[in-house]
Symmetry: C2
DNA sequence: GCTAAAGCTTACCATTGTGGGAAGGTCAAC
DNA sequence: GTTGACCTTCCCACAATGGTAAGCTTTAGC
């Protein structure tokens, strides 16, 4: 017989806040939980595992939309690993683009900061650069 | 005599959308623009330069709150470059933390993707990892 | 000088994922 | 039987941006 837990226990067991568990249900990534007579949500082992799945996917930066796809693949024994891999690689590319963007910011900012004396005078290449007329 | 432009021209000249220009005014990073009799906003050269400042700061990833501080420093001739530099370095650290986080995601995800054959069979280490019971 | 198009105004809605809080019902322990 | 912990729904907020709609103004063409 399945052991059922209320949302607070589910939160502790999975590391997903109760707030988020309800939200996941609302947006449809999590099937509607069963309820007690009083209306308390109840979660079984499979649902707890699914919450763990979601949390780990979030930790890898997947969006909720992507996670919905991942869950669909996971629950579909007829999936082709090709599709999962493609989703992962696509996400990986987004990550790489973000990293690149941040690296570029970092480089510019580091150079500006290096040029700034950081003392009690007002002279500051950082502000001068931001204030520059024209262009980018 | 100052050349004044309406919001559309200001947008083109600065690369900031009209929508955003109004928003910046609303949240107070941009002083209220003067108006024509008909109520059209008018921008002078100084305001255009300020919009450019904001755009470049956004491009470096500064939040609007940080930009508000940067603008205050910029307009304050009694500023100390120390304060500007500190703000920049603090932001730089955030960037570095984000990069690190993304690098970690990337590493995990890359390894999982590498292990996944990506063919027409359902076997997929990516899903297996996400579905793993216990832990992280 | 009229009309149509382009430009401006405000106001509201949506996004993403998360948290906070209020008002009220439920359950368990003492 | 009361109290405290837990649950419910509903609404608000964030940060920065885009979209849309209804309505006024300005400009360009004829």
């Amino acid at each position: 017989m399945e052991k059922l837990v209320t949302i607070g226990k589910a939160s502790i067991l999975t590391g997903v806040s109760a707030k988020m568990i309800r939200y996941y249900e609302e947006i449809g990534v999590l099937k509607e939980a069963s309820r007690t007579d009083a209306g308390y949500r109840l979660y079984n082992q499979a649902q707890l595992q699914q919450l763990g799945f979601i949390r780990r996917a979030r930790n890898l930066g997947f969006s909720m939309t992507e996670i919905q796809s991942l869950l669909k693949f996971w629950l579909d024994t007829d999936r082709e690993s090709r599709d999962v891999k493609q989703l992962a690689l696509s996400h990986l590319q987004e990550i790489n683009e973000k990293i690149l963007e941040l690296e570029q910011m970092k480089e510019v900012l580091q150079k500006l900061a290096d040029k700034c004396d950081g003392n009690d005078t007002p002279d500051c290449p950082i502000l001068e650069d931001l204030a520059q007329f024209s262009s980018n």
